[in-house]
């Protein structure tokens, strides 16, 4: 991990220095990328090659069998669909509810407003693991174990999302909302046709963050899902060496395919995502 910053170069660029700094960045990029590249190339290799010397990053012999094996020997395609389904529903509802709550905090005066906002901040700091056991028992009592309701419903209105939405909605001009009121629009109508269109980029950010979090969630699905056909990608991948007993190449193929949409979304939206994530931290 040979990354060091030489802050003096900020003021006096000279050629050697610039070259040095750029090679540090490149080394950092390569060190970060190699495990990903290895994941992709491993998915095109046989078990025999992966567990033999010399260790190479590129395949010595490209093998296509891992992908058909993944699809035939496991429920990978089913898991993929399940994950898209649960992540999408949770995202759509979660974003809508977070926007509603954020709008209440940003644009209305009401009793207990401070107290309610304190509750939001409190959930932000409360570690989820305190709730793990009783939530699981609750899922049993609700009859939700093995059901996607257990994945979708608890924690659907994320505190961090409310926090972000509040900050974005604060920038919506009050005059626009008042103008709509004079025209006789109901508050719900104002929310849908004035507030939402103005904060659409922010909704996108919150949606992506929620989607990625749900897509990657592991511990909770591991606890509440029990039917292999209903598994999500993370649990499916984690159990692949057990009940399905597939080779590491196929596991890498699954890892690669399950990461692809997340990376794709990130490539498209990286500026917005990073801005959305870092905003809370900067404001302290």
């Amino acid at each position: 991990m040979a990354r060091k910053a030489n802050s003096s170069s900020v003021t006096k660029p000279n050629k050697v220095n610039v070259l040095f700094l750029n090679s540090l960045v490149l080394i950092g990029i390569i060190l970060t990328a190699v495990p990903f590249i290895y994941m992709v190339t491993a998915s095109f290799r046989s078990q025999g090659e992966l567990y033999s010397l010399p260790v190479t990053i590129m395949p010595r012999e490209v093998v296509g069998q891992n992908y058909p094996k993944l699809f035939d020997d496991t429920h990978f395609i089913l898991w993929y669909g399940n994950t898209i389904f649960t992540s999408s529903i949770r995202t759509a509802l979660g974003v809508y509810f977070a926007a509603l709550a954020g709008c209440a905090f940003a644009k209305y005066q009401f009793r207990f407003k401070r107290f309610f906002f304190f509750l939001v901040l409190a959930t932000l700091t409360l570690p989820f693991h305190v709730l793990l056991i009783p939530l699981f028992i609750m899922m049993i009592n609700f009859g939700w174990v093995g059901d996607y309701l257990a994945i979708i419903v608890p924690g659907i209105v994320g505190a961090f999302n409310i926090f972000l939405m509040r900050q974005y909605i604060e920038s919506v001009p009050d005059e626009l909302m008042d103008a709509a009121r004079i025209d006789g629009a109901s508050e719900f109508r104002i929310f849908h046709s004035v507030v939402i269109p103005l904060v659409r980029p922010a909704l996108g950010v919150v949606a992506i963050l929620t989607f990625v979090n749900t897509w990657n969630d592991f511990l909770w699905p591991l606890i509440v899902l029990n039917d292999p056909k209903k598994y999500l990608l993370t649990i499916g991948l984690a159990t692949m060496d057990g009940p399905f007993d597939v080779e590491i190449g196929a596991i890498m193929a699954g890892s690669f395919l399950s990461t692809l949409p997340i990376i794709f979304i990130f490539v498209l939206m990286q500026r917005q995502i990073i801005a959305g994530l870092t905003q809370g931290a900067i404001r302290g």
Partner: protein, 309 residues
């Protein structure tokens, strides 16, 4: 939902009681989904968990009040829990002492006007963070493999002998810290980078005109502006260290590593609650862990406050 649509409809049709009170009542309706789920899925389980932590739970309907016994056992007797806490603390130390300074260095590097590849760097450095713990776990089983792993192969090329990263209990923590560096340094550096954009250039310029050298400008102007970022990354890093789950779970084959060297508090809670079905005991672990995290976070906030002065 029926109540909501009913309200919206009547306000449009008749200008009666609802339209007079709409603006006063609507925020509560907007907050209803949050408040409802908060009550049912946060407040209730938190209370339930608290009560359960004073009970011995066998199966799902055999509860017995045991007072402080669970906590007493955790604090005084349970060696595995202590190991998990020490591991969490070691990982946290790795986070604060290695990850965060390195992340700051990377951010300063990326902030330099002479550095290229910024878009590529941002993409690469963020990718590990948005990759699921399970995938990271699988990739690093190959990286840390003793005979055929990537890391030992790289080390062999500079003449270092094979290391049993996942098999030798002394090397498990370094392995996990390396995994942590790969996963989080880039992410933290992007936070620092965002913070660096907030440092006003004219302030730095003014200090330079007054004769301050680069190191002094960095120490007295840049660093104080990064304070909120430090607070954020250390606190999230600390909570993350004690709640590490997916990566070690995968690396150690749903286990805790050689002699529990890869056991973390949240994993222990999982093993106790869901494999041994000792739900009361697991609840006590959850609460004790929360208290520990809150205390350490409080100390951190206090330290950061001192820094401000």
């Amino acid at each position: 939902m029926t109540a909501i649509s009913h309200g919206a409809m009547s306000s449009a049709s008749q200008s009666g009681w609802w339209s007079r009170n709409e603006r006063k009542l609507i925020p509560y309706i907007f907050l209803a989904p949050f408040l409802l789920t908060f009550l049912v899925f946060t407040v209730y389980p938190a209370v339930d968990s608290f009560l359960m932590s004073f009970q011995r739970v066998r199966g799902l309907d055999n509860y017995e009040y045991v007072g402080m016994a669970n906590y007493e056992r955790l604090v005084t007797k349970d060696k595995r829990f202590h190991t998990a806490l020490v591991n969490g603390a070691e990982f946290a130390a790795g986070t604060v002492l290695i990850q965060i300074p390195l992340a700051l260095a990377v951010a300063l590097l990326l902030n330099s006007p002479n550095v290229r590849f910024k878009v590529l760097a941002r993409l690469a450095f963020f990718a590990p963070y948005i990759t699921s713990a399970v995938v990271v776990g699988w990739i690093f089983t190959l990286v840390f493999e003793e005979r055929y792993g990537l890391l030992n192969a790289a080390l062999a090329s500079i003449g270092i002998d094979r290391i049993g990263w996942l098999k030798d209990k002394n090397w498990v923590m370094p392995a996990l810290i390396i995994l942590g560096l790969w996963t989080w340094v880039g992410h933290h550096s992007l936070f620092f980078l965002a913070g660096l954009q907030n440092v006003p250039d004219d302030l730095k310029e003014a200090a330079r005109i007054d004769g301050a050298n680069t190191a002094r400008v960095f120490w007295h102007i840049t660093l104080p502006f990064l304070r909120p970022i430090f607070v954020f990354v250390t606190i999230t890093g600390l909570i993350g260290s004690f709640s590490l789950f997916g990566q070690p779970f995968l690396l150690f084959d749903s286990g805790s590593g050689p002699q529990d060297s890869g056991l973390f508090p949240l994993m222990y809670l999982y093993f106790m609650g869901f494999e041994n079905l000792r739900m009361g005991y697991a609840s006590a672990i959850g609460y004790l862990l929360t208290v520990i995290i809150l205390i350490v976070t409080g100390i951190q906030l206090l330290l950061f406050r001192i820094w401000k002065v």
